[in-house]
């Protein structure tokens, strides 16, 4: 089926089986590799994207649901020349190690800050439930608070 949506601000149309997870459409058809495949079971969060600014795990999101939606991936969140506050904070705190899970965490954090500009530690714990094997959680928490600061001062 033909599915049309806005991807990182640009209209996109793909012709694909509507049940295919959007993750693979993004990665393999649209060639944006920043959205990661980690488990395919919505358990790790590496594939987190935004659908209308809400965090969604794209490995468990059928492509057909993207019709007419606003989709944002890590590539659309910010760039080196114009980083999103969360990306800025991630660089300031030098969070990534292997880096594979980081786009998912960054997308989840950006979604969190959209709705909750000043999350408490408890709210961070409740909402950021992705998995990082390098266990960069300690710096991530600092980066999330820092991102809130950057965003609120903007």
């Amino acid at each position: 089926m033909k599915i049309s949506f806005i991807l990182n601000g640009q209209p996109q149309t793909v012709d694909v089986d509507g049940n295919v997870p959007l993750l693979w459409v993004i990665r393999d058809m649209l060639d944006l590799k920043g959205t990661k495949f980690g488990c395919g079971k919505a358990a790790c969060g590496a594939c987190t994207i935004h659908v209308n600014d809400e965090a969604v795990r794209s490995c468990s999101y059928a492509a057909k649901y993207a019709e007419g939606q606003k989709i944002t991936t890590i590539e659309g969140l910010g760039s080196e020349s114009d980083p999103h506050p969360v990306q800025q904070a991630w660089m300031e705190e030098i969070v990534p190690q292997c880096g594979y899970c980081q786009p998912g965490f960054i997308m989840a954090t950006a979604a969190l800050l959209n709705k909750n500009p000043n999350p408490s530690d408890e709210e961070i714990d409740q909402n950021i439930v992705n998995v990082c094997r390098c266990a960069t959680y300690y710096r991530m928490r600092k980066a999330i608070h820092r991102a809130a600061e950057i965003q609120n001062n903007a």
Partner: protein, 720 residues
């Protein structure tokens, strides 16, 4: 010692023990994975038009005066690329942003013959890489001297520019048109002090790509025209393919070919979801010779069974039956690597040659494995490593490269084979489960008089591709399982360590820090218990039995530092207790104090104070990052993780049921203290993992009055 450098091939004989070519050539690393990077480089840095066919390549100079370093080691998060850049910048006199680090492919550069692992990348490259960079600097100066008509020793170098006699030349300009490099009589001595880059907490070189989602991982690799594959492998241990009905699957949309091999079945399709969908429809029967259970494992895994390999034998052995001997047993479970990037490989088999792009810690070994399996000459197999989405030892066996090659050969097109998460969990090479029996006796002074550690473990280095068994036998022990097992308190009059090597029905291997986490848990929990029995201060109880050897002094220092910085007290204050533990691993001592409380039956780790002596920290910030990561990953292993046998298969097969530390479990405070006891870099990726399980257990002992003896530790086990 002076090292001769041959002119003809521009060879540099460094202490790496390998031959390197200083080449100025085309940027020839053109695998599609790197296309973004290459496009950037092509757009901004039109390269020299050399032949670029050198078989071995260390550095390249581009026209834009950038230096490309082809690293024999891969970057898997440990930050070594950043430290390499610092080391190169220091000696080559270029700025950090003039350096591009690239994992070498077998075709383009020198790859590590063994592996990236053992926390050794920076420690082993410390000298040779700086020598190599210094050599290149001196060669450039000699060339510049010729071009400028001044004496080489009157020239100075900075930011990739050579100046002297009022003239300047960029390195690129110096190298332009050079076909033969000058000869150096000696490898220049790298600087030993006054560092500009070394020892500074510079940003990671891969920070941008990792924060902005660039396609840098094996999983992101593509070769034009490639197809996608899923593979059916057995779930049950030892299962053999009996029959497979490919009828339905072959007719599924997008399926190009179902490839039936002796031990597995591959489905090649236009897209990965199509391959997965077809896999779901495949009907497979397995022959399962034995349905393994947890009980079977418990039966096998016991001290006293298997091969006995003593590694420490000092003084008299204890008689465990004696009344004054205290004995405790400890256990640790099977651990999964659970790295976030599932294994994947893109292979292009064409005309008797094959290229494989993948995340691997063993580039040379994978090349050999593929060559053997595909019956190809080594030079016809090009292994292209990428950034790794986590290593932790999982990618010391990347034999799935063979399957990707087989599939590519079968369909005559490039094929990308991606593990499912279930495959990843069930085909892991696990951290082996362990069983420990500790014996101890107090002397008349109330300090340890005897300490014995008897432990049983499955393979780590035994049966590994990295180390032939004869070497293990020669070393007298499984050198992986032993990590952290030996007793470091050498002033104890009698101490013994004995390994019982066992064969398990599933593959076990390297897992970040190998035996260290479990061994230290057993030894340091027991030492703590003995201190309680002796009614001694746990700090003094340990320090009293450290001798005056250089390493023992370093251990003493980290213990004292952790104790001092944490304000360690051996009592419960406001519902919180502190637990102390220490270890030394690959020459790096670490001591942790964990501050712990119990809430709603859960162990909460509030703060970890860590003192570690990893010598000279090339990048102190990344050393800290390694400590933080090792502490939380170690906590995860110590408090939550466990694989089990169910219906003959290893389980669970997904995050969640395989419980791991999440954001909410991470300590809110981690206080790292770097104690520099030696002036060279020592390993740091793994050593700080050692003490964490015991430190937490020792705190819980004070909160509950009970000793947890089985990883993962949780309070349910106290009630049981």
């Amino acid at each position: 010692m002076s090292k001769k450098i041959s002119r003809r091939k521009f060879l540099v004989r460094g202490s790496l023990g390998t031959l390197g070519v200083l080449a100025v050539g085309t940027y020839l690393f053109r695998n599609p994975l790197r296309r973004t990077l290459i496009e950037t480089i092509d757009a901004t840095l039109p390269s020299y038009s050399g032949t670029g066919t050198e078989a071995t390549l260390w550095f390249e100079l581009t026209k834009e005066n950038k230096v490309i370093f082809h690293s024999p080691k891969v970057e898997m998060g440990q930050g070594s690329f950043t430290s390499f850049a610092q080391m190169i910048a220091e000696e080559l006199d270029v700025s950090l942003d003039q350096i591009v680090i690239q994992a070498a492919a077998t075709e383009t550069g020198i790859v590590d013959g063994l592996s990236t692992g053992g926390s050794l990348s920076i420690a082993t490259f410390w000298k040779p890489l700086r020598e190599l960079a210094a050599t290149m600097r001196e060669m450039l100066k000699m060339l510049a001297a010729q071009k400028l008509g001044v004496a080489a020793n009157s020239l100075s170098t900075k930011d990739g520019i050579i100046s002297g006699g009022g003239k300047t030349l960029t390195y690129a300009a110096v190298a332009e048109g050079v076909t033969e490099w000058p000869e150096l009589d000696e490898v220049p001595e790298p600087r030993s002090s006054g560092f500009k880059h070394i020892g500074k907490p510079v940003q990671r070189v891969d920070l941008g790509p990792k924060v902005f989602g660039e396609p840098i991982f094996g999983m992101d690799a593509e070769i034009p025209g490639m197809l996608h594959a899923a593979i059916i492998r057995p779930s049950a241990i030892g299962a053999k393919l009996k029959s497979v009905d490919t009828e339905t699957a072959s007719k599924m949309p997008g399926v190009v070919q179902v490839v039936k091999m002796e031990e597995w079945v591959g489905i090649v399709a236009q897209s990965y979801p199509q391959a997965l969908a077809a896999k779901m429809k495949m009907k497979v029967e397995w022959d399962i010779p034995k349905v393994w259970t947890n009980e079977d494992l418990q039966e096998i895994l016991q001290v006293g069974k298997g091969d006995r390999l003593a590694s420490q034998k000092e003084g008299d052995a204890l008689d465990p039956a004696s009344e004054d001997v205290m004995t405790m047993e400890f256990r640790s479970p099977i651990g999964a690597h659970a790295q976030l990037e599932p294994n994947a490989a893109v292979a292009d088999y064409k005309d008797g040659k094959v290229t494989v792009i993948l995340s691997t810690q063993v580039i040379g070994i994978t090349q050999k494995m593929v060559a053997d399996a595909m019956d190809l000459e080594l030079e016809n197999v090009n292994i292209v490593p990428t950034y790794l989405g986590g290593g932790f030892g999982r990618r010391l066996n990347t034999s799935h490269a063979i399957q990707a090659c087989e599939l590519s050969k079968a369909v005559g097109k490039p094929v990308k084979y991606v593990f499912t998460r279930k495959e990843e969990f069930q085909n892991d090479q696990f951290r082996p489960p362990t069983h420990h029996i500790m014996h101890g006796r107090l002397g008349e002074d109330g300090y340890l008089d005897s300490l014995e550690h008897h432990y049983a473990s499955g393979d780590v280095s035994f049966n590994s591709v990295l180390l032939p068994n004869f070497l293990n036998n020669a070393l007298g022990t499984d050198v992986g399982a032993i990590r952290g097992a030996n007793i470091m308190y050498h002033k104890i009059p009698n101490y013994h360590t004995v390994q019982w090597h066992l064969t398990l029905p599933f593959a076990t291997s390297w897992w970040r820090s190998l035996g260290l986490l479990a061994n230290t848990f057993a030894v340091e929990s027991f030492v703590d218990e003995m201190a309680l029995k002796a009614k001694k201060d746990p700090v003094d109880f340990r320090l009293k039995r450290l001798d005056d050897s250089p390493n023992a002094k370093r251990i003493r220092k980290v213990i004292e530092t952790a104790v001092e910085k944490s304000g360690y007290v051996d009592e419960v204050v406001d519902g919180r207790a502190m637990g102390l533990a220490a270890s030394i691993d690959t020459g790096t001592p670490a001591a942790h104090v964990a501050e712990v409380s119990i809430k709603d039956g859960n162990i909460i780790v509030h703060k970890v104070t860590c003192a570690v002596d990893c010598g000279l920290a090339v990048n102190p910030d990344q050393v800290r990052a390694q400590c933080e990561g090792a502490i939380i990953m170690g906590m995860s292993g110590a408090l939550y993780e466990k694989m089990e046998l169910k219906d003959g298969a290893l389980t669970p097969t997904i995050y969640g049921p395989y419980k791991m530390a999440l954001m909410r479990h991470a300590p809110k405070e981690i206080d790292i203290h770097l104690v520099q006891g030696v002036d060279i870099p020592m390993p740091v990726g793994e050593p700080p993992m050692g003490p964490i399980g015991a430190a937490i257990g020792n705190a819980v002992r004070r909160l509950t009055g009970k000793r947890l003896t089985e990883l993962p530790i949780n309070l349910e086990k106290l009630e049981a």
